[in-house]
């Protein structure tokens, strides 16, 4: 047997063994079983690496007949290999993290079984090569993640979030099924390759219809605005290890679907598809980060930031399709590489950030950032890794977020090379949106890190916080190292990406990557990550030496910072998360629609107040103005239709009678 297949089969074997053991192993050892999933992920990751590497023969097809002509077919290709590599990296880290995180968790057996099956179903999504297998795997993924979302607490909000998630994801799946069925009806093939071949000769509007359907369907899972409303509810409600996987990998399954369908199957050569994706990406990234900035719940902040990042990936995806339709394959390759690269980077740092949030929640027993504070001293390692993640997500060198956002930005700026005026304007606007997003992301994560880790403890639980256990910090540490590695040596990842052929679009030849400068042929600029790192280290060293030498004679004074002469600072005097974001709320009040309510009850008017209550909140724009009206319309219609259901048996029999006679009259 080929070594690659051996990796795959033994990896799957480990997953199955893990899920089986979860149902029979003694309770005390349950959390150790996550180690099996970690090992399985590593093996599957090796197989995925093999898929990306060029080889003479195509990878084997695994076919499982179901009934009649329906069969499940699985076959790896370089694109699916890349996404399953992404899954393996994060899956292995999260599984190690779960060893510590799930110690003493409630309902560990079910969580473990669902967790293992969820990972397997994600692999199945990436590897499936026909419609049937894809839909089965996709549905399994959605349902298992739904179970995981509602598994953590008995709290009603989590249940409601689960219901929202299940509803939205099924609407999305309906769109995907519609697209696939249309593809099958037009070509008579269940296989993605067959559909691709059959659709090539079809007119453009047919393919456009399929693209729009699958864009909506996959966009629902990816969480693009305005289809995102389930994401900031469901992701925070899940246990943190699952949130990491959902935000890190599952939303990329939506992205994978878009790339696979949009470029792989439909050819990706119609300009307005790209524009659609660009607009959706721009709106998602700006709206996502604006709401992230306002979130008080740390996991909700991270979830909104996932919406933002998926928007950034869509910018790359859209730009790629747009360039390709203008016959600029080199630029298209760069844009797609930026998109894929950001997918991997986002998985790494967002997974790490969610794990960090999970550790913090374990220590503080709250998701609310206003009840944290001063955690850096209690949890130094978690704090450090969270900081690395925050710096990466803000796209600052020398970490990995910088590389992919830089590439995305470059490809959008290169949009000025397209012939049409509208595409120039749109891509530059996309670049502007990306720049705006970057600034807000920095603000949001300064808030996330500053409010929860710096300052004084805002709650007594934060005072008694303890550092997370070894497996948890180790998993985060590994991902933090990966952030640094991919940031300093982007050639590692971009080299892999450049091997991914996609239909007519072969990726990124004009990029050169190594420790040497990254530059784009025909572009305006390049950058040299290793040099940036060296410069930063050098600067740090100079400051350090200056302090040690020039400042050596000065006496060090220890005092409270920023106490303005007040001798006793209390936690209540600190900047709060809400106060920190006030300027943004003021500037963007047309989007946030902030509401403020002050209620004063007097003992004696007007000077002696008994009680003052102050509430401030923002209006969720999309929910209030799109979903609420939609929902009430549906309710109204349902209420009207309900009159048909009178409860009278005779009337029901009458319906049957009328139907029968009508049918007789029509077809008799």
């Amino acid at each position: 047997m080929e070594p690659g297949n051996l990796f795959l089969l033994s990896g799957i074997g480990l997953f199955i063994a893990g899920t089986v053991l979860f149902s029979i192993a003694p309770g005390r050892w349950l959390n150790m079983l996550y180690g099996l999933f970690a090992a399985g992920s590593v093996l599957a990751g090796l197989y995925s690496l093999g898929l990306i590497m060029p080889s003479a023969q195509p990878s084997p097809v695994y076919v499982f007949p179901v009934s009649g002509f329906l069969e499940l077919a699985f076959q790896g290709n370089p694109l699916s290999g890349y996404f399953s590599l992404l899954l393996s990296v994060l899956g292995a880290a999260v599984s190690v993290y779960s060893i510590g995180y799930m110690k003493g968790a409630e309902g560990p057996r079910f969580q473990g079984i669902f967790y293992g099956l969820f990972l397997l179903s994600l692999y199945a999504v990436f590897f499936s090569s026909n419609i049937v297998a894809f839909l089965v795997a996709w549905e399994a993924m959605s349902l298992l993640s739904f179970f995981l979302v509602v598994s953590d607490t008995r709290d009603e909000e989590a249940q409601a979030a689960g219901i929202t998630y299940a509803t939205m994801t099924h609407i999305g799946t309906a769109f995907i099924i519609a697209a696939f069925m249309a593809g099958y009806a037009l070509t008579g093939s269940l296989d993605f390759q067959g559909i691709r071949a059959g659709l090539a000769a079809r007119p453009e509007w047919v393919r456009s219809l399929l693209f729009v359907l699958s864009f909506i369907g996959f966009g629902m899972k990816a969480g693009i605005v305005p289809l995102h409303i389930w994401l900031p509810r469901a992701h925070p409600a899940a246990p943190s290890n699952v949130s990491a996987l959902m935000s890190g990998v599952m939303i990329k399954a939506g992205l994978y679907g878009m790339i696979m369908m949009g470029i792989g199957v439909l050819g990706g050569n119609v300009a307005w598809w790209g524009i659609l994706a660009l607009v959706a990406g721009g709106v998602s990234s700006v709206m996502g980060i604006l709401y992230a900035l306002m979130a008080r719940d740390i996991k909700r902040l991270l979830a909104y930031s996932s919406v933002e990042n998926i928007g950034i990936m869509l910018l790359g995806f859209g730009a790629s399709i747009m360039f390709y339709s203008f016959h600029l394959p080199a630029l298209a390759g760069i844009a797609l590489a930026a998109c894929l690269c950001h997918a991997m980077n986002h998985a790494v740092f967002k997974g790490m950030l969610f794990m960090g949030a999970g550790s913090v929640m374990h220590a503080v027993h709250s998701k609310n950032m206003e009840e944290m504070g001063g955690l850096l001293k209690k949890m130094p390692w978690t704090g450090l890794f969270f900081l690395v993640g925050a710096v990466s997500i803000c796209a600052l060198p020398p970490f990995n977020g910088f590389v992919s956002e830089w590439l995305t930005f470059q490809s959008l700026v290169l949009g000025s090379q397209t012939p049409a005026a509208y595409s120039k304007v749109i891509s530059l606007l996309g670049g502007a949106a990306l720049a705006l997003t970057g600034a807000f992301a920095a603000a949001a994560f300064i808030k996330a890190f500053g409010i929860s880790f710096l300052g004084m403890p805002r709650h007594e639980r934060a005072e008694h916080a303890k550092e997370a256990g070894f497996p948890m910090t180790a998993a985060m540490g590994a991902l933090a190292l990966l952030c640094l590695l991919l940031g300093v040596y982007p050639g590692l990842l971009l080299g892999l990406i450049s091997r991914i052929p996609l239909g007519g679009l072969s990726a990124v030849s004009p990029l050169s990557f190594s420790l040497a400068p990254v530059s784009i042929a025909g572009g305006f600029s390049g950058f040299w990550p290793a040099a940036i790192l060296s410069a930063m280290l050098l600067g740090f060293l100079i400051v350090f030496v200056l302090i040690k030498t020039a400042g050596a004679s000065k006496k060090t004074v220890y005092a409270d910072s920023w106490d303005c002469g007040i001798r006793a600072l209390t936690p209540r005097m600190q900047y709060t998360a809400t106060a920190f974001t006030k300027p943004v709320r003021v500037i963007f009040k047309s989007i946030y629609l902030p509401r403020r309510e002050i209620r004063i009850s007097y003992r004696q008017k007007p000077f002696f107040a008994r009680e003052i209550t102050y509430r401030s909140d923002i209006t969720p724009f999309i929910e209030s103005y799109i979903y609420r009206p939609l929902l009430s319309a549906v309710h109204w219609t349902a209420h009207k239709i309900r009159h048909l259901q009178s409860g009278s048996l005779h009337l029901y029999l009458g319906y049957i009678m009328i139907t029968l006679i009508t049918l007789l009259l029509i077809w008799g």
């Binding site: 409860g647 009278s648 048996l649 049957i656 009678m657 007789l664 008799g668």
Partner: protein, 220 residues
């Protein structure tokens, strides 16, 4: 000898028309016991039709089916239903929503529609040119009966008539199904009536009457 007579005098059509007439009669009868009698007549005619077919087409196993039809539909089911009616102390009136003359008019309309619509295609195939049309009419008239009667007992009767119509339809297309299937259908019917009897007494217990009007209160 008999075969020729059956062919010359269109015996099978006559029997089928007799079944149709008994259903129409049931549609306008006012007493539950009379309805039950109409059902016995209807079922006996069905059995007779089987015997005639058995002679005409020389299919001996149809005699067996006819025997079981008589045993089940003319004796057992009516006996059980009568017992249920007595036990539940149902009043004798059928209590329809519409007058019996209007019901007759509706039966006429249904038969007219069926005869005018089903005059070609597969509907003239089968045993003779009329049996299938008659069976569809029987089914629709029984449905109409179920629709316009208040009491649950009459609903059951409508269901029984409908089943006879369905049986006739299947019979006319297949010239006698395998015995085992016919027996199975009969047995199902018997069980169905038993279960419906139990349901009736439960409805009576829960709602004090067997008027199906009261079921509206179940709606949430």
């Amino acid at each position: 000898m008999l075969k020729r007579w059956i062919e010359i005098f269109s015996i099978i059509d006559f029997i089928a028309v007799g079944m149709l007439l008994s259903v129409i009669a049931m549609n306008s009868l006012k007493r539950i016991e009379s309805c039950l009698k109409a059902y016995i007549i209807n079922s006996s005619l069905l059995a007779l039709l089987m015997v005639a077919t058995a002679i005409y087409l020389s299919i001996p196993h149809l005699y067996l089916a006819a025997f079981f039809t008589i045993a089940g539909k003319c004796i057992l089911i009516p006996y059980f239903l009568r017992k249920v009616i007595r036990q539940l102390k149902v009043t004798h009136d059928v209590e329809p929503y519409i007058s019996s003359s209007l019901s007759l008019a509706a039966s006429f309309a249904i038969v007219t529609i069926v005869y005018s619509v089903l005059s070609e295609g597969i509907f003239v195939a089968g045993l003779t040119r009329t049996v299938l049309k008659i069976s569809v009419s029987i089914i629709l008239i029984s449905l109409f009966v179920m629709m316009t009667r208040k009491k649950a007992v009459t609903q059951v009767m409508g269901l029984l008539f409908m089943e006879n119509g369905l049986f006739l339809a299947g019979f006319s297309l297949t010239f006698g199904m395998p015995t085992i299937i016919e027996l199975g259908v009969l047995f199902d019917m018997l069980m169905g009536v038993l279960i419906l009897g139990v349901f009736l007494s439960q409805i009576k217990k829960a709602f004090v009457s067997v008027d199906l009007d009261k079921l509206t209160s179940l709606k949430g």
